[in-house]
Symmetry: C2
Subunit: 218 residues, 2 copies
């Protein structure tokens, strides 16, 4: 595989993390450029020219418009580079994987992104503790809902769906690993803990670790 792409990411971005893992799994060579969300670099003219939405991640292939939105990028990478597959073949199994992924990527993550923090601190009087409570509430809720679905469904295996890695594992790991990195403690999630530990044995996840990325704290 000699393809080469540019990923605009940030060390603790959950959405950039899942794309980074997929690129490593698919064997796509990637050069990552850090966009410092804390410094507001997502709103610089240079980055807005890549993604007018001012959000991470963005994936740039030579001669193509930038790809944005992490789940759209995962679907693209899985269609462009079918091996290894990150969705099962059975239609109901695919729907289960996508619905588990959406529980993280749609129901949980969008509530704790910088633009929401900015609104709550600027317009709703949230101090640091109120923001932390808000974020803890949604991360805990998402993890608990995921744990319940995984633990109660015999379709769960070594990974979220059977013994084959999928979008669901990438999204789950993005939440759990970034939460751990920024010191959100999550309790009573044994199934999740087992699955994420298994993911972290794989090189693609190790290389994607937030603390290994440009701009991460030492």
């Amino acid at each position: 595989m000699t393809d080469h792409v540019t990923l605009y990411g940030f060390w603790r971005s959950m959405a950039a993390y899942r794309v980074r893992v997929a690129l490593h799994l698919k064997g796509v060579r990637v050069h990552e450029i850090a966009i410092n969300l804390d410094a507001g670099e997502q709103f610089s003219p240079q980055f807005l020219a890549v993604n007018p939405e001012g959000a991470l991640p963005a994936l740039l292939e030579s001669g193509q418009p930038a790809l944005i939105q992490s789940m759209a990028i995962l679907e693209y990478l899985n269609e462009r580079y079918p091996d290894p597959p990150l969705l099962p073949k059975d239609l109901h199994a695919r729907a289960r994987v996508r619905s588990l992924a959406a529980l993280i990527a749609s129901d949980t993550h969008p509530l704790i992104v910088p633009r929401v923090r900015n609104y709550l601190t600027s317009n709703a009087g949230f101090d640091h503790a109120a923001w932390r409570s808000w974020a803890t509430h949604w991360v805990t809720r998402g993890a608990a809902a995921m744990e319940k679905r995984l633990a109660e469904d015999p379709a769960t295996g070594v990974f979220c769906h059977g013994d084959q890695l999928s979008f669901a594992d990438l999204c789950l790991a993005s939440l759990i690993i970034v939460a751990r990195t920024i010191k959100f403690e999550l309790k009573e999630i044994p199934t999740i803990t087992r699955i994420v530990a298994r993911c972290e044995q794989m090189e693609a996840f190790q290389r994607a670790n937030p603390l290994q990325q440009p701009g991460a704290p030492a």
Copy 2:
């Protein structure tokens, strides 16, 4: 098409709306059961047995586990009933459609669902006006971002992507039509207004209209 499915929805649910349109487009016969979100019916033991997440929509096919999460359901319906296709064939075009859909389904809609309102009114002292400001902010932001992307990209046509209906149109219509129904005024979105008006000429969108559903106000 003689398939018959049960959709658990609610008249003003944006997520149920997009699934309803897809079912009508694909010619799937559907029986809809109203789950009254205002009365908290999503947390009744009967509905939690269908979807333990207590969220709409859920789609039930005979003998199968319920399908949940609207975008996972749309992908499923598009794979199960390929005609008419709701994604283009070209991989970059598919990524564009999915990223436009995600701008609504992931970046916008999850911020204004009942569980978020409950948190803000119960834990953050939001009164009705503060909630309305919050919801207006995110709906306006989502619509403005969508308008900018659609208006500036030559890939936009009669619909969000060229002249073929796609997930992006279903998600866009779900936001705009439900917002209109609950009296959120959106301004300066000419491209969106044109596309949604075109969608509303189609029977599938007319039949899916919030005010035509069980439980809607007279």
